[in-house]
Symmetry: C2
Subunit: 643 residues, 2 copies
């Protein structure tokens, strides 16, 4: 099957408008200043300066990471999505100028990378393992496609086609070409986007080459290391699982290595599988999906539980406090889930998109848009984060956009493009995957179906769809019934309507008239969730979720020492909306117990059972995504269950 993408979707949603405006009004302008080294107190990015030097507009040395260029690319991509949602002539002009600069930095043969152009000319393609040349190119391809789709302007698209045409002369199975691939997957998924826009078959084949070649023996990274004269192949525990090149991709059964690299690759694999109808690749993607979602996924849709290598760990190894759970990894999981959903319309994929969107992705951005988390742990003890070396990656407060700035522009582009995850159309079926207020026109075969969705998600499960048609017509609308839902009701034009529930979607097939109104009601209740017993760190604990939103306890509301607090799950937990709190959130409140040490024993570290008694108290939980927006303090998603 081929689900059509790129239906123009305009988001108008109480929850998401705020985020989209934030990206448009704060994040994009702030990042522009940062890219131009104009943020006071921040270490200079030098990213734009590098392009000016490479373009011959300025003198100087390259500064920053080898992948510094990608910050520019992600900014352009975010601008593209933002312009699609919220046109802005000035912003578009600024971006056009930047694209001119980028095009001048392109070398005559199509090569584009300011690090090698400025710092190591002549050393291109000598260290794919570490140096991100194709990764950067991939981000520029994504930017080019996004900007083209938003504005119709081909300038950057042409630049990147020239780049890829050149790359195609360097890499490939033919003798004399490099039989290699990038250490950080990214260009693979980008090539498929470029292929869809340009219809250029070579781009599809180049992607296929990168995917098929990865992990072959003799290992490309060893060969290039030898060519560089490196004596040792030791690298990240002697294994290439860090870059998912430890095995040919079709032999990989468990998610391993750097989580962002992994999900970017799985995204490309799923998309390529669809394009080529490659069933072995479909199967591999499904195996990896099962491993991730049944063994290596946090309840927040965080992935990558190990700081070392920012990596997946092993089955059920999901520590709450040591978690890495990079914002970018959850974002990549959204990309992958969408491609899985395009392969098979199964609600489990959209469930993960929803879980990531309302939890582990937007937790990465401060409510005011000025600070960011790279690491999104599920439990934080600020004192440990500040003092313990093993927790050095865990921050109790979001950080300004400095240094290795992968996550901030990534969350910006995700938010700006959230509309792209709401609908899809396939043949005679229009799918609604997410309940986000928006308007779209679905192309179902010959028909155009206009849908206006009004939603109070994530706080309320009532959603309305107003359908407009050129003429009445028979087709199917399929509404996702989330995995967390216990029931749902559907009314059409005020009358309860039947539907067929299949793999998480309620299918409604009828002769639709323009003006038809669908009301979907999915009751949201407070869910008390337990983890699989093998997920040992959560033994005896519960997590709270309501609708798609995972909750947490913060010190601000519950005092310090959250591990001591235990929720009484046999008492009612009430949900109420507090519009003054955290820019408006549903709050959960209930009964809990805390410990009290018998008088005179307070100084004892260890004491006989019974010396510690319980006292009744209450708790208040707030959405996880909104944590760390008040005073610095403890936070915990998994809470002990009171005896």
């Amino acid at each position: 099957m081929s689900i059509k993408q790129k239906n123009p979707v305009s988001v108008n949603d109480v929850f998401w408008n705020r985020y989209i405006d934030l990206v448009k009004d704060k994040v994009i302008p702030y990042q522009w200043e940062a890219l131009n080294d104009r943020v006071e107190g921040a270490a200079p990015s030098h990213a734009i300066k590098n392009f000016k030097i490479a373009a011959g507009d300025a003198e100087g040395e390259f500064h920053g990471f080898v992948f510094q260029d990608s910050d520019v690319a992600k900014w352009i991509e975010a601008v593209g999505y933002a312009l699609e949602e919220r046109p802005d002539q000035q912003l578009e002009e600024t971006c056009d100028e930047l694209i001119q600069l980028v095009s001048r930095a392109q070398q005559p043969d199509g090569y584009l990378n300011t690090y090698y152009t400025i710092k190591e000319p002549g050393k291109r393609w000598t260290n794919l393992r570490d140096n991100h040349e194709l990764y950067v190119g991939g981000h520029f391809i994504e930017a080019a496609v996004a900007y083209y789709e938003a504005t119709g302007k081909r300038k950057l698209l042409d630049v990147m086609c020239r780049f890829v045409d050149y790359v195609d002369t360097v890499f490939g199975p033919e003798p004399g070409k490099l039989r290699g691939y990038d250490g950080h997957q990214e260009i693979e998924l980008a090539l498929l986007k470029l292929f869809r826009v340009t219809k250029e078959e070579r781009y599809l084949r180049l992607c296929q080459f990168f995917i098929d070649t990865r992990g072959e023996q003799p290992h490309f990274f060893n060969q290039e290391a030898e060519n560089r004269g490196e004596k040792s192949h030791r690298w990240f525990h002697d294994s290439y699982s860090y870059s998912q090149s430890h095995l040919p991709v079709r032999e990989q059964k468990e998610a391993a290595g750097h989580a962002v690299r992994a999900v970017y690759m799985y995204t490309a694999m799923a998309d390529l599988a669809k394009e080529l109808n490659d069933q072995s690749l479909v199967k591999t993607c499904e195996t990896l999906w099962t491993n991730v979602t049944q063994r290596q996924l946090y309840i927040t849709a965080g992935i990558g539980s190990a700081e070392f290598g920012e990596a997946f760990s092993f089955d059920y190894d999901l520590p709450n406090d040591l978690a890495y759970t990079e914002t970018c990894a959850s974002i990549g999981l959204v990309f992958w889930a969408q491609k899985m959903l395009e392969l098979t319309p199964n609600g489990q994929y959209a469930d993960i998109i929803e879980r990531a969107l309302y939890n582990g992705t937007i937790s990465g951005i401060q409510l005011d848009g000025t600070k960011f988390f790279y690491v999104n742990p599920l439990e934080v003890w600020p004192k440990a984060a500040n003092h313990r070396h093993d927790y050095k990656h865990v921050k109790s407060e979001r950080q300004p956009w400095f240094g290795c700035a992968c996550c901030p522009p990534n969350i910006a582009r995700l938010i700006a493009s959230v509309g792209k995850y709401v609908y899809s159309g396939k043949d005679n079926i229009g799918f609604v995957h997410l309940y986000i207020g928006s308007e779209t026109v679905l192309q179902l075969g010959e028909k155009k179906v206009e849908i206006k969705q009004t939603s109070d998600f994530p706080w309320n499960g009532d959603v309305t769809f107003d359908v407009s048609l050129e003429s009445s017509s028979s087709f199917t609308l399929a509404f996702r019934i989330p995995g967390w839902a216990h029931s749902y009701e559907l009314w059409i034009n005020g009358k309860e309507a039947g539907s067929q529930l299949d793999n998480g979607y309620a299918y409604v097939t009828r002769n639709w008239e323009s003006g038809d109104q669908v009301k979907l009601s999915i009751p949201m209740q407070v869910e008390i969730l337990q983890a699989h017993p093998e997920l040992r760190v959560n033994a005896g604990k519960v997590a709270l979720q309501r609708g798609p939103v995972v909750y947490c306890l913060e010190e601000e509301d519950n005092g310090s020492n959250l591990p001591d607090l235990a929720i009484q799950t046999d008492q009612p937990i009430e949900a109420s909306f507090d519009e003054t709190l955290l820019q408006g959130v549903m709050v959960l409140e209930g009964k809990a117990v805390r410990s009290e040490v018998a008088e005179g024993l307070e100084s004892q570290l260890y004491m006989v059972e019974g010396s510690v008694t319980r006292k009744e108290t209450s708790f208040q939980a707030v959405p996880y995504y909104a944590w760390a927006n008040r005073k610095t303090g403890e936070m915990a998603v998994w809470i002990r269950k009171g005896e």
Copy 2:
């Protein structure tokens, strides 16, 4: 007060004989082979070779750590203690020869250190911060004193007096001398031992100088770094707390930094305080003792919860799984506790000695004496220890005596000298601190009191003392009533006898006759212990202890996934001795619950409450010290309490 040490004590105890024999028959011979590079498959120690080279007996280069010499010293010290317990002419001859070698390696001016003698002559005393010259000297002083006390032979003692006489010309408050101290405290406590044996006041004053000078500003380590031309003073987080030189010692209120360095220093401080009757130092020691025992102590008497810097952390930061809890640190805690006990006869000090001896020290040695733990965690998941970088210091199996070999000889010398912790005499009072089968002669004023103790500790709390006297005499015997005891009974010559309980000791004053027999009965029951609520990792958990022995659960007895298992503390827990298990241990058995996932939900990571139900099971706990002596598997001291 001045409690007299060095009562000759001969241990004859069911529990400890095995360990002492192990040290004498296995560990000391094995270590001798290791020091001589004769252990197949082991990286050569080179420690003896270094001495041969320094003595001019052999050619070659120095190999090993800068403190490699200290392995030789600790071996001699252990031999000294062992010879005191179990004379052995051949061993003594071997050791005499070694001491001859050491003496030949001493430089004409008294200097002794093979690293500087061989590798960096002329660079002595240029990097006290890192290079352990005085630390090594301290271990040789301890060895010299132990060997002298065991054999009466002065050879090494004379060598070390010459060394210290020389050191005394290099360090001191006088102009032209170095106003400095070693980065690893050790010589301080050793100098006090040397002072007691030699009565040489200068050794006491040198110790005082090292203690008083430590942490002064301008900082000695900065000055020497400048002299070396080091540009940066950055070192272990810009702080000298690693070596407890961040503040003058009297201003230190919380235990901080490298745990072994810390407790070696606190030992010296307490001992010096007693010698000088320095009340400010007494107060500091008591403050630090309170901090360690009420805030930073594991239930096993492990200390040092942070791997980074092998260090103390902050109050109540005692993770069970990430713990460092070095064997040497618990050994040093024993040294310190003994000195505190000499300052004040309070049972809390002997309680810690006992807790360390039966738990966190001997856990460091395999029951067969061939392998050792440096790190003694309270919870181990082998898969995490093998795969997670943040757990890389945690081993699921003891390691052979290779590489940085501080712990194996340290546990050897502790075991060989365990008799030294059993008794002390002061004026007219004879103290019994530990219940270890042994014979001793206490010198109480003019009187000699011979005591023969028969004990079944740690499995049974009945102890017998046979008193022999030259003539009947009035004095006091004080028997420690352990902190874990709920009651005790005392009989003298078959009749229940009165005693006065004061600060953990039962004082019995009477006119003693030769042949008097004291029977002390301290009932041991299974204690279910809880941690202070601020010790957050143990929330909802209990630990089991019986007598002085802390228990743990092992996978071998209880299956995998120990965090899922919850003890039913309202059900009986039975203790029974299993002489076939782990060379004879008391085993605890009781009821527990485990989780069961509802059918069909096994693949879910997260599920609504009620999907996981409990099923009844049983548990078996074994002494913590004996863990990891069977198949590699999980272990946990703190276990969830069943609902």
